[in-house]
């Protein structure tokens, strides 16, 4: 285990411990159902989180993802239900729109030297606003394809159902890992986050890399939007509010530094599971009022992060002797 992957192990260990704790309180946690739910219910979150991981590693941030999810849902619902476009075609259309949207944000960030926080904040307003403009109603999607896709389920022993969207999330994570560690693009992402000036001096194509990073994030947000529309079989302009913060929290709990340059896609996966676990635990408990729910989420979030920090800080710094 080296120093770089150590926080990752801490995070994973913390998750395992927490799961064991839940199990001791609620035996139902042993069922495959609970674990499969954890994957299905957080599928859309996981998919955006992969994109967010890249953005954050590159030293940026993307606040627009929640709104893009909502916009995707509304767009699909209108296309499929009102314009009667074939769903597959609608998927392709929204992916292209999202790619353009991301490219626009990336271009503004790079060429006009504007902080990503603000540019994507404007993107967040814009995408959410556009979904209101399309329609303020929630529209159910009744296309048979949706039913078919939702029936694609791998039944696990013990009543668990590994749904299509959970599988999509796992695939996106696998793809994200390959992209991060086995492509030049991946190394550019880390390079940008390490130090933009140095990266530029070392010949990283900064403009195209920046734009591609935000395209990736927006496209994955759209994929997540598609998954979300499958999950709910509907499009709704108020869907996925605040998802950007949940996502950022998951990425950071997963050990990625907000300052950029370091982090792991797989860590984000654990981060997502940890967040899902907190929620599941609170639901199982079922005695908390609305306000205690919030306080409990805060306390658990703090407990995870503090534990992670304390363990990591206590770990003696290992030094490497050069030559």
């Amino acid at each position: 285990m080296n120093q770089r992957t150590f926080p990752l192990f801490v995070t994973a260990a913390v998750f395992a411990l927490a799961y064991a704790f839940c199990l001791s309180r609620f035996p139902a946690f042993a069922s495959t159902r609970v674990f499969a739910n954890l994957l299905t219910d957080n599928a859309f979150l996981g998919i955006v989180a992969v994109g967010m991981t890249f953005v954050i590693i590159s030293g940026g941030i993307d606040l627009s993802v929640g709104s893009v999810i909502a916009f995707t849902g509304v767009f699909l619902a209108i296309m499929i239900e009102r314009v009667h476009v074939n769903p597959w075609l609608a998927f392709v259309m929204i992916l292209i729109i999202a790619a353009l949207f991301g490219a626009g944000m990336g271009a503004i960030i790079h060429f006009l030297r504007m902080p990503p926080f603000i540019v994507t904040l404007a993107g967040m307003f814009l995408a959410r606003g556009m979904s209101f403009v399309l329609t303020a109603d929630s529209i159910p999607i009744n296309h048979p394809l949706y039913a078919q896709l939702n029936e694609l389920v791998i039944r696990l022993p013990g009543g668990g159902r590994l749904t299509l969207i959970a599988v999509v999330m796992l695939l996106v994570f696998a793809g994200g890992i390959v992209l991060a560690h086995f492509t030049r693009f991946g190394s550019y992402v880390y390079a940008l986050g390490g130090n933009r000036t140095s990266a530029e001096l070392m010949g990283v194509p900064v403009a195209s890399a920046t734009i591609r990073i935000y395209v990736l994030s927006s496209v994955l947000a759209a994929v997540s939007g598609i998954v979300f529309s499958l999950y709910t079989s509907a499009g709704y302009s108020l869907a996925a509010t605040g998802v950007e913060l949940d996502t950022i929290a998951a990425v950071i709990i997963g050990g990625t530094l907000l300052t950029g340059g370091s982090g792991y896609v797989i860590g984000t996966f654990v981060g997502i599971l940890i967040q899902g676990l907190i929620q599941t635990y609170i639901t199982f408990d079922g005695t908390l009022s609305s306000w205690w729910t919030k306080i409990a989420i805060g306390i658990l979030l703090f407990a995870f992060i503090a534990l992670q920090r304390v363990v990591t800080m206590a770990w003696p710094m290992r030094r490497v002797q050069a030559a």
Binding site: G203, G261, Q321, A323
Partner: protein
């Protein structure tokens, strides 16, 4: 064709670059021939780095043309320059500390297999590449694990590997020790013999004479001239650079002194597990103690312990015989310690702030936030040190990040002098400082000591250490292995102690 009859591989004519308030480069011609090592010299802020950045497309030039092997080129960014076969090591090590060594070496040109990066092959190639520099390390480790010096070598290795026709090295040797420098020179010569052009910026005149074929001197952004190294005497070179004569003895200190009396600071059994082995060290008022050792021998670590940046887990520190608490830089500063770090970019300068603010920062911190220095006083202090150390800046309000490397170093020295310290630790203080300033700093060191300052100076330049130290401590493998004084303070004994003979 150049005057020497060799083909020019790189030719820049009439290059100019203006920054707000600064004429960094003014119609400079520069010519690099095939198969030569060309030293580019000049005082701090003369425009050397700017010239290099214009040629490699980091900055857009305001005037002038660039030709590569006779053809006009216009590199728009560093990628362009790399494509044209120009490999460059910029002055501040511009690598990415968060990436692995191998990734730093091959960023953007990683070996691919089935459309994916072949990490194994990359690692193997990195290992082979670094072996040429006698560097045997695990290329999968992040670069940040290694000392500045190692990083510098990696940057060189990368540039050399990249360069097809031209290799540009902006002060590559600033933090290398003698052995490393020799390795680098061997490689430079090999490339020259292969017909490549090498541009070499340094402030060490010995190195210039050892390795270069021709010399171009810049002063205040203007070209002073280009000469054959063999035909240019040292003193003339210096006066070309400074625009005035520099007396020979200015470079060397008078006599070594036996400084007597009670030690001002003393460390006993001071150390930290896995960091530096416990050591004893005493420094008196007016004494200069040099610290010598190879890369990674633990000199910087010793300094960080002595300044409270790292907390010792054994031993004790005393000031004037009284045990003191040394848990943080603030403790140290309260005891009137000062520390000029080696890595000025990440540990020294506060980039966006002005030269004035950088200079008064430590003094202000010691006074506390409730007692702000009046603006007038700040300006007075800044002005005084800018003049005293000859910091080249249009005015004290300029952001320090826009100063040339050597001038940043001087501003940092000013930061500590402004606190009127009693015990000052300088880690590679002359790194990147020109000959004139070098002499001035050494003279300053002497003057400070005459005023009763205790100094601990770390330097990779043994000659330099010899020139001003009263006593020398030698480190090896994070252990203090010897202390030399009197006549032992000379090249030979120090080298022997370092080698462990």
């Amino acid at each position: 064709m150049t005057e020497t009859g060799r083909k020019a591989v790189l030719k820049a004519s009439g290059l100019s670059k203006f920054f707000p308030g600064v004429r960094a480069l003014d119609k400079v011609d520069f010519e690099l021939a095939e198969g030569e090592i060309h030293a580019l010299l000049g005082e701090n802020g003369a425009g050397k780095s700017t010239l290099i950045k214009l040629v490699t497309g980091v900055y857009g030039r305001d005037e002038g043309t660039i030709q590569l092997a006779g053809e006009e080129v216009d590199p728009k960014d560093t990628t362009d320059a790399q494509r044209l076969g120009i490999g460059t090591v910029y002055q501040e090590v511009n690598l990415l500390p968060n990436l692995s060594v191998a990734e730093n070496l091959f960023l953007g040109r990683q070996p691919m297999r089935f459309g994916l990066v072949d990490r194994k092959a990359m690692k193997a190639r990195a290992k082979a590449l670094l072996a040429e520099y006698n560097l045997h390390l695990d290329p999968a480790e992040p670069l940040s694990r290694f000392s500045v010096a190692v990083q510098q070598i990696i940057a060189i290795a990368r540039a050399v590997d990249l360069s097809g026709r031209v290799l540009i090295l902006d002060e590559p040797t600033a933090s290398l020790d003698a052995g490393e420098v020799q390795v680098l020179f061997r490689i430079m010569r090999r490339l020259r013999d292969r017909g490549m052009g090498v541009v070499f910026v340094t402030h060490f005149l010995d190195q210039v004479y050892e390795v270069s074929d021709r010399i171009t001197v810049l002063r205040n952004g203007r070209l002073v001239g280009t000469r054959e190294t063999a035909e240019l005497p040292r003193l003339e070179l210096v006066s070309m650079m400074l625009g005035r004569e520099l007396s020979a003895e200015a470079l060397h200190r008078g006599g070594r002194r036996e400084v007597a009396g009670e030690p001002l600071v003393s460390f006993k059994g001071f150390g930290k597990n896995r960091y530096v082995e416990p050591f004893d060290l005493e420094i008196r008022r007016g004494e200069v103690v040099g610290m010598a050792g190879l890369l990674g021998s633990g000199r910087t670590e010793t300094a960080k312990l002595a300044f409270g940046i790292e907390q010792a887990d054994s031993g004790e520190a005393r000031v004037e015989g009284h045990p003191v608490k040394l848990q943080s830089p603030r403790d140290a500063i309260r005891l009137r310690f000062g520390y000029c770090p080696e890595d000025r970019k990440t540990e020294g300068i506060v980039g966006e702030l002005s030269v004035r603010e950088n200079i008064i920062l430590a003094l202000q911190a010691r006074r506390g936030w409730l007692k702000p220095l009046p603006r007038r006083e700040q300006e007075e202090i800044a002005g005084r040190y800018i003049k005293l150390l000859g910091i080249k800046t249009p005015d004290a309000e300029r952001s320090i990040q826009f100063l040339s490397g050597g001038n940043q170093q001087k501003a940092l020295l000013a930061r500590w002098l402004a606190t009127d310290p009693e015990f000052l630790i300088l880690d590679e203080p002359t790194r990147g400082i020109d000959v004139g300033a070098h002499a001035e700093i050494i003279r300053l060191i002497e003057r400070l000591c005459d005023d009763g300052l205790a100094l601990l100076v770390i330097s990779s330049e043994i000659e330099e250490i010899v020139s001003y130290s009263d006593r020398v401590v030698v480190l090896r493998d994070r252990r203090h292995v010897g202390s030399l004084s009197g006549d032992e303070v000379a090249m030979e004994p120090i080298m022997q102690t370092i080698a462990g003979a």
